[in-house]
């Protein structure tokens, strides 16, 4: 298996006020392999979100390096970074962040229209629409296509978010607590979807507080005060009933870490 993403000595400092500097990420070394399903846990304020936004190029790292698909992020221009996020990455957020002036379908196909598809060359509108419909069917929101985003529930909207993230068939999907605002039933459904996506070969990396969510991932990273302090390989989750056992294993590990 090849490396998709690798950070070396990744540091992030924020300047607060006039002189104060806060070192939020401290020498983070991280490798993510193609096809992996990774989650990041840790106390609030430990730097999980910051890590996520720095390795996808939305935020500018202060020091160190991030290699993604053999490209060094710090060397890319704003335009190249945008293109990278558009074509090779997908994002899902806790607050979902859909564009409120577009219908649900349009939210999904927008990135598709904008992209230069690496796999098929020039974008064809028809192809994008076909993919969008397929994704919506798979996630069970096909009948909502022409709705306003105000006319759907939170769980449904997060599915829209997933469809949008997948429309350009990215190498990786990042999620910052994608289930954080959902009830447990919706949360389970979203995780099933993401597990399915991962089985299809797409790498997934989530930040979460929820042991039930993390238990479905393959590898759990633990962050404390800006450092990656531990990790646990859980093995692939095949979805057949051993979930309880995985959750217990994970909980006791976290307990050992004092969480």
């Amino acid at each position: 298996m090849s490396i998709l993403l690798e950070t070396k000595q990744l540091n992030k400092t924020y300047v607060v006020g006039k002189q104060n500097e806060v070192n939020v990420l401290k020498d983070v070394d991280l490798k993510i392999m193609r096809g992996e399903f990774v989650s990041v846990m840790g106390p609030s304020g430990s730097g999980k979100s910051t890590l996520l936004y720095n390795i996808c190029g939305m935020d500018k790292m202060s020091d160190g390096s991030v290699l993604f698909n053999e490209k060094e992020l710090s060397r890319l221009s704003e335009k190249e970074l945008s293109a990278l996020r558009l074509n090779e990455m997908g994002f899902i957020f806790q607050q979902i962040h859909l564009l409120k002036n577009l219908s649900i379908l349009d939210n999904i196909i927008l990135s598709g229209y904008l992209a230069h598809n690496r796999r098929r060359g020039a974008v064809k509108k028809k192809d994008v629409e076909k993919r969008a419909v397929k994704l919506m069917e798979k996630t069970g929101i096909a009948e909502l296509a022409t709705n306003d985003i105000s006319q759907a529930s939170g769980g449904q909207l997060q599915r829209v978010g997933i469809c949008r993230a997948l429309i350009n068939e990215p190498d990786i999907i990042f999620g910052d607590e994608p289930t954080g605002a959902l009830n447990s039933k919706s949360s389970d459904e979203i995780m099933e979807l993401l597990a399915g996506v991962n089985r299809g070969g797409t790498t997934v990396m989530l930040v979460t507080h929820d042991v039930k969510v993390a238990a479905k991932t393959e590898r759990v990273l633990f962050m404390l005060d800006g450092r990656l302090v531990a990790e646990k390989h859980m093995g692939k989750y095949s979805g057949n009933g051993d979930l309880k056992a995985r959750e217990e294993r994970l909980s006791s590990w976290l307990l050992e870490l004092g969480f």
Binding site: S49, Y53, M58, D59, K60, E78, K79, S82, A83, L84, R85, L86, N87, M89, F91, F93, Q94, Q95, H97, L98, L99, K100, N101, L102, S103, L105, D106, I109, L110, S111, Y113, L114, A115, V123, K125, E129, T146, D148, I149, S150, R164, D176
Partner: protein, 784 residues
């Protein structure tokens, strides 16, 4: 205190737009009071000039012999006459007159030059202090027209080349002439000492008389005019009266004053739009707060008072500063008035008028604020508190999501599509910017059109003259008829002349409705060769047809198809009005027929001609002026230039200011508007950036926003200028004798250059404003 907190917050939060609203109110008050001042100054100075010079109420020009005792007797017997005087004027041909050291004669000038000595009891020629002017022997006073147009200085010499010798005179003064000041009047009087006058009379035998009257009752000018013209007294020349002098004197500066006031109204509208926008944006932001205030029991009136107070202060300060600024600017604007007409002390009330104009601006601002604030009534406490951040006064942000699904876009420009779609979705908000673009276009295009029209060679048709390459004018003088026929013969034989048309203006007697006799100047000839633009109807084609100038038709209350009775060869003849045309020359009251002219009463002769393609215009003009001396030869362009030159100059300056104003306003408002909208859209922008939109993509979206609006604004502004704007200019112009003006449009300038200029500035302003979207805003927008 919640009041003050809101006030302070509001001022700080909206510094930029507050400043803009403030400066627009200031600018509007400034222009308003400057325009008002210009009008006050103009009428005040004009009255002062007329009373200082004791301008005559009625003047008959006459080129021919005169019988003074008969005139004296008639004047003594007529009860309407207060004073009478006969002024003799030596007419000097332009080719004999040299101003300054240039060595170039006044040959190509359209002006009729007359030398006079100072009058004894009225119609004084004045110095620059508006005092009757006295010159010593060897000295001469020159009309201000030449001061402005020939770059003369006191002490320069003036030479007149007579038959036997050249006389040199020193220019010791510039003079104001209530009758003949403005450039649109094609006669100019120079003032000499009596001894020089007598001396020159020996060499220049041609003279013209001004038969001048002051009436006991200036209100009876019309009655007197009729009495004089019916009296059989000398009248070989134009008849003019004090009303015409006043109109002509006021014309140039009057147009500028009107343009300034219109400009101020437009800017006021912009100020009000911005004001409305600011207030609504404030209310939207304060929506919840207002709800809270209402919920805790504050009365609607109290809340309103907070806002009213703010705009009251803002408006009052801006209007006051605008007024004060206009005080120092007035001199520049009334420069021309001061030169031509002179200044006069203003009364207290006259000083007050510009202040009132500024106060009016303030009142309008206040009234609009009150009207806009009525929206406060619509906010209910419960609604405001329940509504989320997205909801506001302008309705739900997501309204109209379903219009224009993305499917309709072309792939290569999804961003252009999104930008345009946004305009339709949030139309109410974007309408403001559209409005501003509309006004900017209007402010720019209207003066450009007007200037283009007035400088265009075809503008000649508004002056009552058909368009031709060259025009030859021969005034009444000795053996003029013989000279005229020689001239025609010469022109006929000239191969360089493609076509020509002789026109002779002579006087006829007309029987008015109540059977009285009235004299009318009628141009006879073939009017098909060099056609005029007729407002209604067309050129006379039959002998019983007559075309009237717009003012004449109005005076006589005649429409197309009406008839009037003209004395031809001693017997009355019924003529049918066949056309009405515009004429700004000769007081605007003329007529045209194809009847043979009245040989006993010819006023002047003209020939219009077009040259063949190979002919050299300049050479031909020289040839003719040598050959046809003392006829005046003018080409159309210089005819317009000399007549309307100073109006054109002033209008040119106004146009430049208007273009600058339009561009500055468009830049300012575009930047402000975008700044506001970007801060409003910041979360949406962050989302777009997070999913892979680059800055460039987002820039294209906003650029399409503004350019779509600009396109709408340009289109509407142009249509509006070409219709209502044209009507407005026509109304101004009708004061001069032209009833309607059709813009002669220079498409390159008006439809390509100006729109490109606006597009350039708006794009620049947009791109610069968007650069405010910084990289880090993604995280702030996306992260909770």
């Amino acid at each position: 205190m919640i009041f003050l907190r809101i006030l302070k917050k509001d001022f700080l939060r909206k510094k930029g737009i507050m400043l803009i609203v403030f400066s627009f109110i200031l600018l509007s008050a400034f222009l308003m009071s400057a325009g008002a001042n210009l009008i006050v100054e103009l009428s005040n100075s004009l009255n002062a000039l007329f009373s200082a010079s004791r301008a005559p109420h009625f003047v008959q020009m006459h080129a021919g012999s005169i019988d003074q005792p008969t005139l004296n007797g008639w004047a003594r017997k007529n009860k309407m006459v207060e004073e009478f005087q006969l002024v003799e004027m030596i007419t000097i041909d332009g080719s004999a007159l040299f101003l300054g050291d240039s060595g170039v004669s006044e040959e190509s000038s359209v002006m009729d030059i007359g030398f006079v000595s100072q009058n004894e009891t009225f119609d004084y020629l004045l110095d620059m202090q508006n005092r009757p002017l006295q010159v010593s022997p060897g000295e001469i006073a020159v009309p201000v027209y030449y001061l402005q147009n020939r770059d003369l200085q006191l002490g320069d010499t003036l030479r007149v080349k007579g038959a036997s010798k050249t006389t040199s005179l020193t220019i010791t003064a510039f003079l104001r002439d209530a009758q003949m000041n403005p450039s649109i009047v094609h006669s100019k009087r120079f003032l000499l000492h009596q001894s020089d006058y007598t001396e020159l009379q020996k060499q220049f035998t041609e003279s013209e008389y001004l038969i001048e009257f002051i009436l006991t009752d200036p209100g009876r000018i019309d009655e007197f005019t009729k009495a004089y013209l019916d009296s059989g007294l000398p009248k070989m020349g134009p008849t003019v009266d004090s009303r015409l002098f006043k109109t002509l004197n006021a014309l140039t500066d009057g147009i500028v004053a009107a343009v300034v006031i219109v400009l101020s109204l437009l800017i006021m509208i912009i100020a009000l739009l911005c004001l409305r926008f600011t207030i609504l944006a404030t209310l939207e932001d304060d929506y919840r707060e207002i709800g809270v205030m209402k919920a805790v029991g504050m009365k609607r009136g109290d809340i309103k008072r907070i806002y009213l107070f703010k705009y009251f202060a803002l408006g009052a300060l801006a209007a006051l500063l605008g007024y004060l600024a206009s005080l120092s600017f007035n001199r520049i604007l009334s420069e021309d008035i001061l030169l031509y007409i002179g200044s006069a002390p203003k009364s207290f009330v006259q000083h007050l008028i510009p202040l009132c104009a500024a106060a009016l601006t303030f009142l309008i601002v206040l009234l609009s604020t009150v009207l806009i604030l009525r929206r406060l009534n619509r906010i209910s406490a419960v609604e405001a508190l329940r509504a989320g951040a997205g909801a506001g006064i302008g309705g739900k942000a997501s309204a109209g999501v379903r219009i224009l699904p993305l499917k309709n876009s072309k792939l290569f420009n999804v961003n252009v599509f999104l930008g345009m779609r946004d305009v339709f979705q949030r139309f109410r908000m974007f309408a403001l910017l559209g409005f501003i673009f509309f006004f900017c276009t209007f402010i720019i295009i209207l003066p450009v059109h007007f200037l283009g029209t007035i400088t265009s060679p075809s503008f000649i048709s508004y002056m009552g003259i058909g368009r031709s390459d060259i025009r030859v004018d021969l005034r009444q003088s000795e053996s003029v008829a013989a000279r005229f026929s020689d001239m025609l013969e010469y022109i006929e034989a000239d191969d360089d002349v493609e076509r020509f048309s002789p026109l002779i203006t002579s006087q006829f007697t007309m029987l008015s409705d109540n059977g009285e006799k009235e004299t009318i100047a009628i141009e006879s000839g073939d009017f098909t060769l060099f056609p005029l633009d007729y407002v209604k109807g067309g050129a006379p084609a039959r002998e019983n047809e007559i075309a009237l100038s717009y003012l004449k038709a109005k005076d006589m209350n005649r429409k197309i198809g009406d008839s009037l009775s003209l004395m031809v060869d001693g017997s009355p003849r019924e003529m049918t009005v066949c056309g009405i045309y515009q004429d700004v020359t000769n007081g605007g009251r003329t007529a045209k027929t194809i009847l043979p002219y009245n040989p006993a009463k010819v006023l002047w002769y003209t020939v219009s001609l077009d040259l063949a393609a190979q002919a050299d215009m300049q050479a031909k003009m020289h040839e003719y002026s040598d050959q046809f001396h003392p006829a005046r030869i003018t080409d159309m362009e210089s005819y317009i230039d000399q007549t309307l030159g100073s109006t054109i100059d002033q209008l040119g300056r106004v146009t430049l200011v208007a273009i600058a104003a339009g561009l500055v306003v468009s830049i300012l408002i575009t930047s402000l508007f975008l700044k506001m909208i970007i801060s409003k859209d910041s979360s949406q922008i962050a989302i777009m950036k997070s999913i892979g939109f680059s800055l460039q993509h987002i820039r294209i979206q906003y650029l399409s926003n503004t350019l779509v609006l600009l396109a709408i604004g340009l289109l509407l502004g142009t249509v509006f200028s070409n219709t209502l704007g044209q009507r407005f200019v026509s109304i101004l112009w009708s004061q001069m004798g032209a009833s309607q003006i059709t813009f002669i449009i220079d498409p390159l300038r008006a439809y390509i250059l100006m729109p490109l200029l606006l597009m350039g500035t708006v794009s620049l302003a947009t791109v610069l404003s968007i650069s405010a979207i910084k990289e880090h805003s993604i995280i702030n927008g996306v992260k909770e």
